[in-house]
Amino acid sequence: MTLKVTKVVGGYSQIPVLKEVTFDIKNGELVGLIGLNGAGKSTTINHIIGLLTPFKGQIEINGVTLAKDHDAYKKQIAYIPETPILYQELTLQEHLEMTMMAYDLEPNQAWEKAHRLLKMFRLDNKLDWFPDNFSKGMKQKVMIVCAFITDAPLFIIDEPFLGLDPIAVHDLLDLIEEQKHRGASVLMSTHVLDTAEKYCDRFVLLHDGQVKTEGSLPELRAALPDAGESLDDIYMSMTKAAQQ
């Protein structure tokens, strides 16, 4: 069991956005976090990566909580934010070096991985550029490279497909697949439902800060027999039912 979120109540101020959110991700699993804008996806992610402290409930990664061991908890997470966040003052090469230093990676091995990823995303000739001036898609690729050179057991990926070109989308999905084989877990929030349907092992459907349903596609179909076949249908009928 990599990630275990238990009855988390939380939010930005006193008013809770999340209401007893509970789900888990097992080793080697890709779980899709699905929900409307404002459903609480990003809030959930911010709680998991430790930017917010839950009012109630507990979040564990491989048995470690943030309170128990700060560094050990954070070392297990690789995070790709929805909007790329970069250091204005660092070049692409320095972003990679910064990541290697921060996560204490062995430089030779990490650079070997980095070169492969840079080539894959056609960034290998831009090592001395400031990525802050890149286009949205290229910035996103920098974030992906930085995340995937770590050997983190848990990847948190927030809406990864927007701005990426079709080749990069496939490369990213391949990379996720690779990490799953290694035994790493991935939590991915997305609105691109047909891609999610194809690649995710399980889904957590969030609505209004609550987990509405959770499970694999067959399980969701069984839980909502009238909703339809695809994830899109199930999701639409679920939100409609919730709004009524």
Partner: protein
Amino acid sequence: MTGLFNTRLKRHLKEMFKYLRLVFNDHFVFALLIMLGGLGLAYSNALKTLPRLPWWGAPTVIVVLIAILQLGSLATFLKDADVVFLMAKEGGMTDYLRYAKRYSLGLSAVVQVLGVFVLLPFIQVTVGLSGVAILVLTVTQLLLKDSWLEIDRLAKFRGFPGWQTNRFVWRLVIPTIILISGLYGTEWLALVLAVLQAGLLRVQGRHTRTQPLNWWAAIKTENNRMMRIYRFFNLFTTVPMLKGEVKRRRYLDFLLTRIKKTHSNAYLYLYSRGLIRSGEFSGLYFRLTLIGMVLLYFVHGTWLPIALAALFIYLIGFQLIPFYWQFDDIVFTHLYPIDDRQKAASFKKILATLLTVTSGLMLIVVAVVNFNWSVIAITAIVEAIEVIGISGYYLPLRLRKNR
């Protein structure tokens, strides 16, 4: 579009007045008055010693008038988002920019007239022009400024061949020729030429309504103009809008390669690069160190240099400390499995190094100016105590308070 320009103008003026109030505080006004008085006195004394009609009179007047001509650029108040939100209104931008030019011309006309007014006694003594001639020259100068701003307006549109909006030609070469014709020929010739230039530019600009706007260039020019204003205000007060520019500064890489790339050095790596490449803090450090050294060069005595060196080290240390939080809005700094103690230790190292360098430079100046062993020794001791005090005791205190 008039409405839009006027709202923006109002907001701009409100902001400027807010800053001007901060700049022109009582002490500063007092110092300024004394300085202006002194300058005025020096100017009037200098005028008395000038020879009548020297050969260099006219060239000097031309150079000064051309310099004054360059003051004040076209204020358009364009914003980054305009490229999206005003896209459909591109045709209306001709009117918008006309209003912008009218406002800018009004503002710079005051500057031009003031400039000519200050120069007036000098012109009378060295060139010997009559009152009417000076009046004609003033009108010429205003027309030249009008053309100067018109070039700025036309440059906002695409579709002019390069020479038609060449700033060097229209703002420097042609005005110089016109002023030469006025001071060596007759002032009326200069007036006619200036009217011709302004007319020519009007003809050139009559189709701008159907010409596409060069949005990015126009917005960039306006942003740079505002940055210049903010940078000036930043000398007196903190300006939140001032976002530093990042420069690569490859020639300083030799300083950075000394830092070993290990886990414990992660923040040292980040802070050192941030400091060297962002303008804000490195500029502050560089400026204050330089000013301190220049002041120390002119100061003699026993205790004054010591006090001054101590003051500058304190000022620099005090103002550099906020750099500790520079990267806090980058989410990854909160995700790295790095202890905050390591971050603080790295920052302490950076701060101590910078202050030691400043101390060393100031000590050299003190030693060169006052060659007295006891002064040098006491300065060195005071500086050492201060550097240790700021980085070892004051810094942890501030960090604890701000947590």
